[in-house]
């Protein structure tokens, strides 16, 4: 291989690395925006229960348009009878997902929470009218990609703070180092 070929290859590798970093950053920001937007229409205090709208209507799809029988049982017996508690959990978890993925702080932990949340949504609304079920599979895969790529280390606070966490002997810093 000539010197020029080696130089070209090095340039291509460098571009690939840069492209990967940009893509990893955009993936994390994009997934964060999805969760932030999702948090926007979960309106307390009744989350649509009285009017049969909003989060209540979508949660009810798990029963009216069943995807997975055990999940339908779970929603009917545990979620709907305690709907306001469930509504607050959804609002706070989606807002926290948006916040921490936007920051890139404890990213791998929050990406796993995102996988769990996206799976719950997929099991609830995949068969509902005007829903495109593959969207939720893509959201699960996107959160898995954020986890696998440790996306908070690229343009996120994980990348900024990991050296300080590594030097620290504190329990919280060690934990944050593990989940970043």
């Amino acid at each position: 291989m000539t010197h020029t070929e080696l130089s070209d290859r090095a340039a291509t590798d460098a571009q690939g690395t840069t492209a990967m970093r940009i893509a990893t950053f955009l993936l994390r920001i994009g997934v964060a925006c999805v969760w932030i937007q999702g948090a926007g229409w979960k309106v307390p205090p009744d989350f649509g229960e009285d009017a049969g709208r909003g989060l209540y209507r979508f949660t009810h799809f798990a029963i009216s348009h069943e995807v997975f029988a055990p999940w339908t049982w779970f929603v009917r017996e545990l979620v709907l009878p305690n709907f306001q508690v469930f509504g607050w959990l959804v609002l706070i978890s989606e807002a926290a997902l948006g916040a921490f993925l936007l920051l890139g702080l404890a990213t791998r932990f929050w990406a796993i929470i995102g996988v769990v949340q996206a799976t719950a949504i997929m099991l609830t609304v995949s068969n509902a009218p005007n829903e495109f079920g593959i969207t939720y599979w893509l959201l699960i895969i996107a959160n898995l990609a954020v986890f696998a790529s440790a996306a908070g280390r690229v343009g996120g606070l994980d990348g900024v703070l990991r050296p300080a966490w590594a030097r620290s002997t504190g329990r919280v810093a060690r934990l944050l180092g593990r989940v970043s």
Binding site: G30, A32, C33, V34, W35, I36, Q37, A39, G40, W41, K42, V43, P44, P45, L91, I92, E94, A95, A96, L97, G98, A99, F100, L102, L103, L105, L157, V160, L161, A164, W165, R167, S168, A173
Partner: protein
């Protein structure tokens, strides 16, 4: 400039930009309108559609807190950064208490809870890490 201070400036700058955009979209609303102006309202089908919402008061509070954080990062006063983080944490509590009610003075939606949580957690994490680094440097110098 350390990476931590640069990150504090970026976070504060981001909040100022969002606050200014909020002030622009809320310019025709009442000062503490319960339903604020929505950022990117006409792009609901895009990932950035309907992210945040502000009354003029909500936008001004966001800009003010972010400015305190920026000043703190600029003059290396961690206390100011922590004060701003605490202010954003109170704003997050405001969303939980008032969102969806008629007394929603900051005019916010659920997405603002994410924004305020991000600012509170991010600025606090950076300020505490900066304090740890200063302690380490002091111990090394000593």
């Amino acid at each position: 400039m350390t990476r931590i201070r640069r990150a504090e400036l970026v976070l504060a700058g981001l909040a100022i930009v969002i606050g200014v955009c909020g002030l622009i979209v809320a310019r025709d609303l009442g000062f503490a309108a319960a339903s604020g102006g929505v950022l990117f309202e006409r792009s609901d089908d895009m990932i950035w559609g309907k992210l945040f919402q502000f009354s003029p008061l909500g936008a001004i509070v966001t800009i003010a807190l972010a400015s305190v954080a920026m000043l703190g990062a600029w003059i290396r006063q961690r206390t100011l950064v922590l004060v701003a983080a605490g202010g954003f944490a109170i704003c997050a509590l405001q969303v939980i208490v008032q969102f969806g009610r008629t007394d929603n003075v900051l005019g916010v939606r659920g997405g603002n809870l994410a924004l305020f949580l991000a600012m509170a957690a991010g600025l606090a994490a950076l300020a505490f890490a900066d304090a740890g680094e200063a302690t380490d440097s002091g111990a090394t110098a000593g």
